[in-house]
Symmetry: C2
Subunit: 167 residues, 2 copies
């Protein structure tokens, strides 16, 4: 069975509680994690009150067509970059009508993409009080890189929301 690990469920529940406290909703835009982050967020009962939905922009061109990431930004910075991660996060909240957007992009492997090594992950969060991006290099296979990136993304959302007053 595909089941989210219990500490990730706790992390997701903490994010949902922070969102509910502020009266905010959330949306996702995922490349590296391909749907795992959205799935983690809807795991707790009651998620539907704060989770709007998300975009899985696995193919690079879908980052532009689904999430409104500018083509020239993709060309200049590459799909695995802080700028694109931030644009994906912002695009998800606009397209999904959410207050908060969170995005993941990176290289799961088994092969590097150009000069970007396997395990590279960028996560980004846009919320009514600002925006933030974070980079990591995760060890392990494709599943391990993705699982670590889901935890990293949930952690960044909690950190951003926890330090931000409601608008």
């Amino acid at each position: 069975m595909t089941r989210t690990a219990s500490h990730v469920v706790d992390q997701a529940q903490a994010v949902l509680d922070l969102l509910a406290d502020k009266g905010w909703t959330i949306a996702t835009c995922e490349s590296l994690t391909g749907g795992l982050l959205a799935a983690a967020l809807i795991d707790p009962p009651g998620a539907s009150t704060v989770v709007r939905g998300g975009l899985v922009t696995y193919a690079t061109d879908l980052k532009a067509t689904l999430a409104d990431v500018p083509d020239d930004l993709l060309a200049a910075k590459g799909a695995v970059s802080s700028a694109v991660a931030l644009a994906m996060a912002d695009g998800s909240r606009v397209r999904c009508g959410a207050d908060v957007g969170v995005a993941t992009t990176g290289v799961a492997g088994p092969d590097p993409v150009g000069s970007v090594p396997v395990g590279t992950a960028w996560v980004a969060v846009c919320w009514p009080g600002g925006f933030q991006a974070q980079r990591a290099l995760h060890p392990g296979d494709r599943a391990a890189v993705r699982a670590a990136t889901v935890e990293m993304a949930l952690g960044l959302v909690a950190s951003c929301l926890g330090s931000s007053p409601a608008r």
Copy 2:
């Protein structure tokens, strides 16, 4: 760690192989499974050659705005119906530029939605040779219902593609 069960990985690999044989690509539109189906499809290495991406239309209105499900269809049939599942599958392949679209909608619980009982799942597939929808009533908690629906969706895709000649 969030890791897809090995038999689901095998199922996803079989779907990717069928797609590669036909030179087709795939996209998802998920409500009930909220990203788990897309995540299962991108789990095998090499997925990027056939998986385009997907939509997580968790909120009902996103089924219309992201996946082009007609509002009057949603009003007439409800979000958990064969007609809406088929429209979601078709919407995902159009929006994501894929040959095949697969969709999930249902009730994960803990509470029923109107007259629709917990565990109800509709999955639908649209491909160049036709379209098909399938209903099930899965036992268990939210995670069990979702995991069973991912397996059901991968099974339906394999069945539809296996019986369809390349265009």
